[in-house]
C-alpha cells in the first residue's frame, strides 16, 4: 500500500470491510461485560438484601450467615455460567490470516 493511502485521515469508515471474526469478538466482549454486570448486581442485591437487620437476628445456613451463604451460591452458579459460555457459546476461530479469513492487501 502506498504511504499516502496508509496515513490518510480523510476516508470513510464504510470503505473498510470488517473482518467477520472481529464482529464475533465484539459480540463476545459484550457477553463478557454483561456477565460482569449481572454477577456484580446480583451478588450485591443478594448480600445487601438478605444481610439487612441486626446481626444478632441473622439466620444461619450450614453454619454461615444466610446472606453470606447466598453470596457463595451466586458465585458457584456464575462459575457454571462462565464455564458454559466459554465452552459452548464462545466460538473458535482462526487467529492467523490465511486464505479466506484475512490477508495482505494488494497494491
Amino acid at each position: 500500500m502506498e504511504k499516502r493511502e496508509y496515513y490518510s485521515r480523510d476516508y470513510d469508515f464504510a470503505e473498510i470491510e470488517m473482518d467477520p471474526r472481529f464482529l464475533q469478538c465484539r459480540k463476545e466482549m459484550f457477553i463478557s461485560f454483561s456477565t460482569w454486570l449481572a454477577f456484580t448486581a446480583i451478588s450485591l442485591a443478594v448480600a445487601y438484601g438478605l444481610g439487612k437487620g441486626p446481626v444478632e437476628e441473622y439466620k444461619y445456613i450450614l453454619g454461615l450467615p444466610q446472606w453470606w451463604f447466598a453470596v457463595i451460591v451466586v458465585s458457584v452458579v456464575f462459575t457454571f455460567i462462565v464455564i458454559f459460555l466459554s465452552l459452548f457459546v464462545f466460538q473458535d476461530m482462526e487467529l492467523s490470516d490465511t486464505a479466506g479469513t484475512g490477508g495482505e492487501k494488494k497494491g
Binding site: 496508509y6 485521515r9 473498510i16 470488517m18 460482569w36 445487601y48 458465585s75 466459554s86 490477508g103
Partner: protein
C-alpha cells in the same frame, strides 16, 4: 513476634522453602538453555512471546497467578480479618478475571498481535495509536513507575514473611527470592516465567487446600465460630459495614478494569489457539475461585482462633502454623512465595518488554541488529531484577505512597484507550493520550485525597468517567486514525508492510 516457634519447626519450614526454590532454579536453568539455543534474529520474539504457542494450563495460570499475589494470599485475608465479610465479598469480584480478560479482549488481541507481531502489552497501544509519542511516554512511564513500585512492595512483603516464619534474616529471604526470579525471568524469558508459574500454581493450590481443610477442621462446628466473631464485633459479619455504592466501586476495581493491568492481560499475546483460550478460562476460573474463597474467607475466620493479632496480614501464616504440621506450614510459605513470585515474574516481563520494545527499539536505537537486541533484552531484564532487589533492600519512603496508586492508576490509564481502541474505529491517538493522562491524574488526585472528588466510592469511578469523556471527546474533535492502522485493527484485508 506473635508466634513462638521451636527451632525444629522453623528448620522444617526453611527446608520446605529451599526445596521449592531449587525446583524453580532448575526450571530457570532449562529455560536458559533453551534461550541460548534460539536463533539470534528470533531471540526477542522468543524471549517475550515464546512463539505464541502456550497451552491452556499455562495461560490460565499466567493470568490467575499473575494477578493473584500477596493481595490474595496475605493482604486480602488480612483485611478479611480486620474489616470482615464485606471485604471478603469484594474479593469475589475477581473470581472471573480469566473470563473478563480473555473474553473481552483475548481473541481480538490474539488476531491483531499476530498481524503486527506485538511483543508487549504496550505495543497494542503504540501500534493502534500511530506511534504517538505522548501515548508511548505515558505508557512507559506508567508501567515502569507503577508496576516497578508494585513489584518492590511484593518483594518486601514476601521477604518479611520469610523472616517471620523461618527466623532467618530479611536480606537472606530477599536474596533467595531475587536470585530465583532473576534466573527464570532474565535468563528464561517468558518460557522461564511460564514454566515457573506452573510449579507456583500447583504449590499455591496445595497450600490453599491444606490450609482450608486444616482450618475448617479446627473451626468446626462452624456456626459457633462465626457467632463468636459476631459477638466480638458485629461489623465483621455484615455486608453493611461498607455502603453498597462503595462496595460496587470495589467490584469495578477488582473485576471490570482487569484488562487494564498489563501483567494479567499479557496472556492474550501468547496463547496457542482459541480452543486453548476457552479451556484456559475454565481452568483459570476454577483456580481463582478456589484460592480467593478459601484464603480470604479463612483470613476472616482466623479471628475466631486468634482474636488479637497485631498485624492482620499475619492471619494466614499464623493460622497455618497453628492448624498444620510444620512441613505443611512450609508449603503455605512456599505457596505465598509462589503467589508473589509469579506476579513478579509476569511484571518483570512486562517492564522489560516495555523498555526494550517501546523505549529502546522505538526511540533509542530503531536500527539495532539482532545481536545487540539480544544483549539489551537480557541485560535490561537483569538490571530490572537488580533494581527491584535494591529497592526492596532499602525501601524508599515514597514506595508506600506510589503503591497506593499503582493498580488503580494503571487501570484508569489503560482501560478505556484499550477497549475503545479495539472496538471503536473513531478512537485516535489524541483521545488515547488525553484519556490515559486524565485517567491516571484523576485517580491520583482522588485516591490521594488531594481533592474531594470520590463521592464515597473508590477513586476508580471518577477516574474512569474522566478518562471516558476525554478519550471519546478528544477523539471526536481531532482527525481520524490513519487508514492503514484501522484496516489492520478492523479490516478483513490489511497492509502487511507499513510503508516507510
Amino acid at each position: 513476634m506473635e508466634w513462638e516457634l521451636s527451632s525444629a519447626t522453623r528448620t522444617v519450614i526453611l527446608i520446605t522453602f529451599i526445596v521449592y526454590s531449587i525446583a524453580l532454579l532448575v526450571v530457570g536453568f532449562y529455560s536458559k538453555r533453551r534461550m541460548d539455543k534460539t536463533a539470534l534474529d528470533k531471540f526477542v520474539e522468543e524471549f517475550y512471546t515464546g512463539g505464541r504457542g502456550m497451552g491452556s494450563l499455562v495461560i490460565a495460570l499466567m493470568i490467575a497467578a499473575g494477578l493473584c499475589s500477596a493481595g490474595t494470599f496475605l493482604g486480602g485475608p488480612g483485611l478479611g480479618y480486620s474489616v470482615g465479610l464485606t471485604w471478603v465479598m469484594v474479593l469475589f469480584a475477581q473470581n472471573f478475571m480469566n473470563f473478563y480478560i480473555l473474553g473481552e479482549i483475548g481473541k481480538k488481541v490474539g488476531i491483531v498481535a499476530r498481524r503486527i507481531n506485538a511483543q508487549s502489552y504496550l505495543d497494542l497501544f503504540v501500534y493502534r495509536y500511530n506511534h504517538n509519542k505522548m501515548v508511548g511516554l505515558i505508557g512507559v512511564a506508567g508501567i515502569v513507575i507503577f508496576l516497578g513500585s508494585y513489584v518492590v512492595a511484593q518483594f518486601v512483603g514476601g521477604a518479611r514473611l520469610f523472616e517471620s516464619m523461618t527466623g532467618q534474616p530479611y536480606w537472606l529471604g530477599l536474596t533467595i527470592f531475587a536470585l530465583v526470579v532473576l534466573f527464570y525471568a532474565a535468563f528464561g524469558g517468558i518460557r522461564g516465567v511460564s514454566a515457573a508459574i506452573v510449579i507456583q500454581g500447583l504449590v499455591m493450590t496445595a497450600a490453599v487446600l491444606a490450609l482450608f481443610i486444616g482450618g475448617l477442621r479446627f473451626l468446626l462446628p462452624l456456626e459457633s465460630s462465626v457467632r463468636s466473631i459476631a459477638e466480638m464485633n458485629p461489623a465483621l459479619v455484615t455486608p453493611w459495614t461498607w455502603a453498597p455504592g462503595y462496595q460496587f466501586s470495589m467490584w469495578v476495581v477488582f473485576g471490570l478494569v482487569m484488562i487494564g493491568l498489563p501483567h494479567g492481560a499479557m496472556g492474550c499475546l501468547v496463547y496457542k489457539d482459541t480452543k486453548a483460550m476457552h479451556r484456559a478460562i475454565v481452568i483459570g476460573t476454577i483456580f481463582v475461585v478456589l484460592w480467593t474463597f478459601a484464603l480470604v474467607w479463612m483470613g476472616h475466620m482466623t479471628k475466631a482462633v486468634f482474636p488479637n493479632l497485631a498485624v492482620p496480614d499475619h492471619a494466614i501464616p499464623t493460622l497455618a502454623m497453628r492448624v498444620l504440621p510444620p512441613w505443611l506450614a512450609g508449603v503455605t510459605l512456599a505457596g505465598v512465595a509462589g503467589a508473589i513470585q509469579s506476579t513478579i515474574g509476569a511484571m518483570v516481563i512486562v517492564i522489560s518488554s516495555t523498555l526494550v520494545k517501546d523505549a529502546y527499539q522505538a526511540y533509542i536505537n530503531p536500527k539495532a541488529e539482532p545481536a545487540k537486541l539480544k544483549k539489551v533484552t537480557i541485560w535490561s531484564t537483569v538490571a530490572i531484577c537488580v533494581a527491584i532487589f535494591l529497592g526492596a533492600l532499602f525501601p524508599p519512603h515514597a514506595l508506600e505512597w506510589i503503591v497506593v496508586f499503582a493498580v488503580g492508576g494503571l487501570a484508569s490509564a489503560f482501560f478505556w484507550p484499550l477497549i475503545l481502541g479495539l472496538y471503536w474505529m473513531r478512537t485516535n491517538e489524541h483521545g488515547a493520550a488525553a484519556g490515559m493522562a486524565g485517567g491516571m491524574a484523576t485517580y491520583i488526585i482522588g485516591a490521594g485525597k488531594y481533592l474531594p472528588i470520590t463521592f464515597g466510592m473508590n477513586a476508580i469511578m471518577v477516574s474512569l468517567a474522566v478518562s471516558l469523556a476525554l478519550t471519546v471527546g478528544v477523539s471526536l474533535m481531532t482527525p481520524k486514525t490513519p487508514k492503514g492502522i484501522i484496516m489492520t485493527w478492523f479490516g478483513r484485508e490489511y497492509p502487511k508492510k507499513v510503508p516507510a
